[in-house]
Amino acid sequence: MKKIIDIAFPDLDDKNVRIELDDTLSPKTFKAILDNLPVEVSINKWGEELYTDRTTITVEQEDNAKTEVNELDVAYWPEGNALCLFYGPTPISKNGKILAYSPVNIIGKIVDSSNKHAILNQIKERAKVIIRESI
């Protein structure tokens, strides 16, 4: 099953990043996210990864959790109870691979790659975000 959600950035003229959630890789996380929306939280940067503060979404590491991710992957980081958006290398990336700090449950993809330059690169540390179902 697939579902579209939005991450809105009120500090950036309420711009939105649209995400397509997919339940095939991390079904428990998929459900937990939808059950907890909307989520209002601050966001942090770690290289070209955006990750939220701890959320109310609580899921264990799933069987398919992985450390190496792809550009524009969206994931849940069990260790930090955080949602992560990967749009480039992290501080521990090597040989062109995008590496998460520790295994993450992949939950979907950023729909529009142009968001990388238009929005994700512009986000400032501690910006507020609202994660909600797409209208």
Binding site: N44, W46, G47, R54, G80, A82, P91, E125
Partner: protein
């Protein structure tokens, strides 16, 4: 001098009340060194093949936190200052995690137990879990661990 094995390194890092001397990079590129209380996240890697994350807490507006937010590269040195002298230096990448109160309290209690003893752990854990405190994880990227520095060959 001899090198420590992985298990010796882990044991050494968690020995007694050794503090970590944490170095971060100031805005002008100069180093900033401070001692911190820390623990290893031993829950994370039970296979003992790797040295686990170094975990400590600090105020988010402290210089070290501000430095790590801007530049995630850190170095940590833990040393035994009694003969025959041993040390572990860790180069790593820091990631700041903003925890909810209960999770932060759990970590601060665990850290306090190490440095202030079991009977004081709860009180110090609570004392150190206040507004603006953040958790820092450091993933080791390079480890230098030497023991018995003063020993004759």
């Amino acid at each position: 001098m001899t090198y420590m094995s992985k298990n010796e390194t882990k044991k050494f890092l968690m020995q007694g009340t050794f503090t970590a001397k944490l170095t971060t990079v100031n805005k002008d590129g100069s180093p900033h060194v401070v001692p911190v209380w820390f623990v290893l996240d031993e829950r994370k890697n039970r296979t003992a093949r790797k040295i686990e994350d170094i975990v400590f807490t600090t105020y988010e507006d402290s210089l070290k936190a501000t430095n790590m937010q801007r530049d995630n590269r850190v170095s940590i040195c833990v040393d035994d200052q009694t003969p025959q002298f041993s040390f572990v230096t860790i180069h790593g990448t820091a990631k700041i995690v903003r925890q909810k109160y209960n999770e932060l309290l759990k970590w601060n209690t665990r850290i306090a137990e190490r440095y202030m003893g079991k009977s004081n752990a709860k009180a110090y854990g609570k004392r150190n879990t206040t507004e603006g405190v953040i958790l820092v994880r450091v993933k080791p990227t390079k480890i230098i661990a030497e023991k018995d520095i003063a020993a004759w060959e």
